[in-house]
């Protein structure tokens, strides 16, 4: 069994702010991430899938198919966007990298079988680095 990991990047802006707290509480909680006009990151996303090597190709994952799915579900949706203003998933959800990881993992999981209809490979995890120092990881079996 192999784990194949592919690394992608996109740049996006966001602002951490929740309607459930007051302006002052938001400022205290999120600090500079709450600045009113938002700010951006070069997000690095690693998608890992697990499976045996295919007898014909010697590969566990067709990375061209994975690239296509990630381009559609992640890079096209988030790349050079303001996550708060332009991405439906974050209309009511704070675009923290935790929530971004959940959304990316959920979306890949929902579309996985269309791209990979066989038993293998399976989506294993998604890892997001918001900056090189802040890293968030979620396993596919942690979400529905």
């Amino acid at each position: 069994m192999f784990r194949v990991t592919r690394r992608y990047e996109f740049a996006a802006s966001h602002r951490l702010h929740t309607a459930q707290l007051s302006e002052e509480e938001n400022r205290r909680l999120y600090g500079k991430c709450n600045h009113p006009y938002g700010h951006g990151h070069n997000y690095v996303v690693e998608v890992s899938a697990r499976g045996p090597a295919d007898g014909t190709t010697g590969r566990a994952v067709d990375t061209a198919l994975l690239d296509e799915m990630v381009a559609r579900q992640v890079l096209d949706r988030f790349g050079h966007r303001n996550l708060n203003a332009e991405v439906e998933a974050f209309e009511r959800v704070v675009p923290t990298s935790e929530n971004l990881a959940v959304e990316i993992c959920r979306s890949l999981k929902a579309h996985w079988k269309k791209t990979f209809p066989a038993e293998w490979p399976k989506l294993e995890k998604v890892r997001i680095a918001e900056t090189p120092r802040n890293i968030f990881e979620i396993r596919a079996d942690e979400i529905e």
């Binding site: 194949v4 990991t5 592919r6 690394r7 090597a53």
Partner: protein, 141 residues
């Protein structure tokens, strides 16, 4: 405890299955099917599980691990055309998956001793694509 040593080698390869037609190989492997081959700077991370020795405080002297990696992997793979010069890749397609498994097989007999066990082999074909192999085990997080 898990300790990791990283080594690098540069090699060329071509990914194609001789049982398939030219267009099928092109469709499956894309540019990697170019029969003249192409190369990568491979990066290999080898991890070993064990407990620190009560006297030395080390799981294994990383110098020793480096010597094993150089002797068993780097000297064979480095600056070679894998399909032509490094068995089993005369018969097995040198995908990153198969390279990780071959490195595991070469290293395991030399490292599984003294209470230590080979834990994982990670092979980076590029910075954007890597494979983890953990033998019969499923790689844990």
């Amino acid at each position: 405890m898990v300790i990791t040593r990283k080594v690098e080698f540069s090699a060329s390869h071509v990914c194609r299955n001789p049982q398939l037609s030219e267009p099928e190989n092109g469709k499956l492997f894309g540019l990697a099917a170019n029969p003249h081959g192409h190369g990568h700077n491979y990066v290999v991370e080898v991890s070993l599980a064990g407990e620190p020795d009560p006297v030395t405080g080390m799981v294994l002297d990383l110098k020793e691990l480096k010597e094993v990696l150089n002797r068993e992997v780097v000297e064979l793979y480095d600056h070679r055309f894998l399909n032509y010069e490094v068995p089993p890749f005369d018969r097995v397609i040198p995908t990153t998956e198969n390279i990780a498994r071959d490195i595991w097989r070469r290293l395991e007999p030399h490292l599984n001793q003294g209470g230590r066990k080979l834990h994982s082999v990670r092979v980076y074909e590029t910075a954007d694509l890597y494979v983890d192999y953990c033998g019969d085990e499923t790689c844990s997080a």
